[in-house]
């Protein structure tokens, strides 16, 4: 009894018998076996051994699974594993709310800037009111500063009304691109006034700083 001298082919016979070779290698080995009596005999033996030992005693896998230790899962991972769908829905709701909010704000601002360029702010406001449409305005609560900010009858104006908790309304007519340099300057000045205004109005001029001093909150 002889062994084949082609060691490479001979070493691949168990894999050929097991069917774990890729198609190309399998074809190559089979071609060799077809012309090699020693390898053909060895392959036959391998198939016999596999067939004789293929039978395994029946094992009750469910009983084995019952005996296994339970996985130690960190609480957070366990929650994630148990309710992955809910978590996904939460994210979708958050995304939808964000989209609606941002979209709504964008629409409001866009509408404000789409008034005809030849229409004054008052005209535009009246026109929108008379048409029963909704008017978008920027409203800020300002203290009694005694000042009125007016951009001077250009395409835009800002009015700051007197009185405690009075409303300051900024009305914009036409596009920002229609404003001349002076109007933009005046508008920016008015907005700066609003920014500088203290947030908590009072009947008397308030000398205390608007922002709390750090550390006072604990008293």
């Amino acid at each position: 009894m002889f062994d084949c001298a082609n060691v490479e082919m001979r070493e691949l016979l168990p894999e050929l018998a097991a069917g774990t070779l890729d198609a190309a290698t399998s074809a190559r080995v089979e071609e060799h076996v077809a012309s090699c009596a020693e390898c053909a005999s060895e392959l036959e033996t391998l198939r016999l051994v596999r067939s004789a030992f293929a039978k395994s005693p029946r094992v009750d896998t469910s009983r084995i699974v019952m005996a296994l230790p339970r996985p130690v899962v960190p609480a957070r991972r366990a929650r994630a594993a148990s309710a992955p769908v809910k978590r996904w829905i939460d994210w979708r709701i958050a995304a939808a709310l964000t989209t609606i909010t941002v979209g709504g704000l964008s629409l409001a601002v866009t509408r404000r800037f789409r008034l005809p360029p030849d229409m004054s702010p008052r005209q535009s406001t009246r026109a929108i009111d008379s048409a029963g449409g909704s008017r978008t305005s920027i409203i800020a609560r300002v203290p009694d500063t005694g000042r009125t900010a007016d951009t001077g009858g250009g395409a835009a104006s800002a009015q700051v009304a007197r009185g405690t908790e009075r409303k300051a309304q900024l009305s914009f007519g036409g596009g920002v691109g229609d404003l001349d340099a002076a109007s933009i300057e005046a508008l920016m000045g008015a907005l700066d006034e609003l920014d500088r205004a203290p947030m908590a109005p009072s009947a008397e001029p308030d000398r205390t700083p608007v922002l709390p001093v750090i550390g006072e909150g604990s008293r």
Partner: protein, 184 residues
């Protein structure tokens, strides 16, 4: 070659292990179903006549209890075989201490496949069984791991705690002995 097949098997096992660690107990069932038959066959080839299911179960319990120590350097099946082999050898040592007047290996060589003989219908298969039965225990382990489980010499060496070269020699000696027993 068989390397792609081996890689796919390893990645499936790793995926199932990750799922089990995350709390998915169905993954444990799938792992047991994938490997229990091979472990039962290997237990038989190691001469385990009775309590095969118990041995397989103990193997899985031990493996799942120390799954974090599985480094995936080899396949899960190779690791399970290593655990099972150690478990069986430990049992034998314990048995030997109880019955130290009887050589376990000699007794196994004479009788270990008797229980299976009834299951073997084909005469050729019966002859193969007898031929394999005559091999030394190490030759038989190496030979059956290579032929029935399709493991590489590297994996076999890891399981039987030997070298790749030694595993190759054991396999070819076993093959020669089986062929002589069958055809001469």
């Amino acid at each position: 070659m068989g390397q792609d097949h081996e890689r796919n098997e390893i990645s499936t096992d790793l995926d199932l292990i990750a799922r089990w660690k995350a709390g998915d107990e169905r993954a444990a069932s799938m792992l047991v179903e994938r490997h229990a038959p091979a472990l039962a066959r290997f237990a038989m080839s190691l001469g385990q006549r009775s309590d095969v299911e118990e041995v397989v179960q103990d193997t899985f319990v031990r493996a799942f209890g120390s799954i974090d120590s599985f480094r995936a350097d080899s396949s899960l099946r190779t690791w399970l075989f290593t655990i099972e082999r150690r478990l069986i050898l430990d049992r034998r040592r314990a048995d030997r201490r109880r019955k130290d007047d009887l050589s376990i290996e000699e007794r196994d060589a004479a009788t270990e496949f008797d229980a299976l003989d009834g299951l073997v219908a084909e005469e050729a298969e019966a002859r193969v069984r007898k031929a394999v039965q005559r091999l030394s225990r190490l030759q038989r382990e190496v030979f059956l791991l290579r032929v029935t489980e399709g493991l590489s010499y590297r994996e076999i060496a890891e399981i039987v705690d030997s070298t790749e070269g030694a595993a190759r020699v054991h396999y070819h000696n076993a093959m020669r002995a089986v062929k002589e027993s069958l055809y001469v």
